[in-house]
């Protein structure tokens, strides 16, 4: 399948998800279950994407483990996104030097 077709579908779906409620929808969602579901979705999605894929992200389990540990610790102390992301990467790189 041509890559352009994939990109068109990706971009189209992503745009519609943002555009439809932003442009047309004015009412509030009433269902408490659905509101809660939408509240939890980002965390559930990001976690399912990250665990366990992050352990295979750097092509080496040990360096990935070091990066993950640093990310978890820094995130626990509420450090900014960039700091967490770059420190994890640095930790994975430095660990790789010793293997």
């Amino acid at each position: 399948m041509p890559i352009a077709l994939y990109i068109l579908v990706m971009a189209g779906v992503t745009y519609l998800i943002r555009m439809i409620p932003f442009t047309f929808f004015r009412k509030k969602i009433k269902s408490r279950f659905f509101r809660s579901f939408l509240y939890y979705i980002p965390y559930a999605v990001l976690t399912a994407m990250t665990i366990p894929a992050i352990f295979y992200s750097t092509e080496n389990f040990i360096t990935a483990l070091a990066g993950t540990a640093v990310a978890l610790i820094l995130a626990f102390f509420d450090l900014p996104l960039i700091v967490v992301a770059l420190s994890a990467s640095l930790a994975a790189f430095l660990t790789g030097l010793f293997l």
Binding site: M1, L5, Y6, I7, V9, M10, A11, V13, T14, Y15, I17, R18, M19, P21, F22, T23, F25, R32, F33, F34, R35, S36, F37, L38, Y39, Y40, I41, P42, Y43, A44, V45, L46, T47, A48, M49, T50, I51, P52, A53, I54, S57, T58, E59, A64, G67, A71, L72, A75, L79, P80, L81, I82, V84, A85, L86, A88, S89, A92, F93, G96
Partner: protein
């Protein structure tokens, strides 16, 4: 009125600078990831310019690399980006009257987690010029970083580019951990999602990665919604 617009546009750009810098480094990781999956720097940049979202793109290029179906792509993007609907809904409540349908159609493109967070933190109503300024500078950072990452993927030694591929995932950790630490209900949902995802990875291996993410996320969020219905005022923070 014209100078007002100019002022609002510049204010939006100023507020967008930290977002842009963050995007620059994260999308650099995306560029490298895309390169490792066999996509060119140009293709990766087109994806970044047309999608402007981290998680959706990260899983999207995996679906492309794995030769997944278009239906899988649609469902993956729907579930992963569904949160934007809620943000768009919330933002639509605090738009300045000058926000015509045309402006809404254009600004919809730029509703990301970070832009939403900054806009909803504004005490004033949001004007189109303010959002355009912020989206412009944020998207510039996102696209530039992707292009640089895609090119760097070819140049950098594997030891560096492999280490950079953890950037996106660690950003997700940085988004999830602080609320999970403060709110046990979020923590329960996160643990459920991690457990399910691990199960799919090692046991239910016949399910493709994209669908596994959808099933795990929907099940964990439904579990949370059924057991711990969420109070309304927290909604805006997602």
């Amino acid at each position: 009125m014209r100078s007002d617009n100019r002022h609002e546009f510049l204010r939006g750009m100023a507020h967008g600078i930290p977002i842009s810098l963050g995007y620059l480094s994260v999308s650099f990781g995306f560029g490298i990831l895309a390169f490792k999956l066999g996509l060119s720097a140009f293709t990766a940049s087109v994806i970044s310019a047309s999608n402007l979202t981290s998680a959706g793109q990260a899983i999207g290029v995996k679906v492309i690399a794995a030769g997944g179906t278009l239906l899988e792509m649609v469902l993956v993007q729907l579930v992963i980006n569904m949160r934007y609907s809620l943000m768009a809904l919330s933002l639509s409540q605090k738009l300045h009257p000058s926000f015509t349908t045309g402006h809404r159609l254009a600004c919809s493109y730029g509703i990301t987690d970070e832009i939403f967070a900054v806009c909803s933190g504004q005490p004033k109503l949001i004007t189109p010029a303010y959002m355009y300024g912020m989206i412009l500078i944020a998207a510039a950072g996102w696209i530039t970083g992707t292009a640089l990452g895609g090119v760097a993927g070819e140049i950098l030694p594997d030891s560096v580019s492999d280490a950079m591929k953890i950037v996106l995932y660690s950003m997700f950790i940085a988004i999830v951990v602080p609320p999970a630490r403060k709110d046990r209900r979020v923590l329960a949902v996160v643990i459920a999602a991690a457990a399910l995802s691990t199960l799919f990875r090692y046991v239910l291996t016949f399910v493709s990665e994209g669908f596994a993410v959808i099933i795990c996320a929907a099940a964990a969020a439904a579990f949370g919604a059924a057991l711990f219905p969420h109070e309304e005022e927290k909604e805006a923070e997602t």
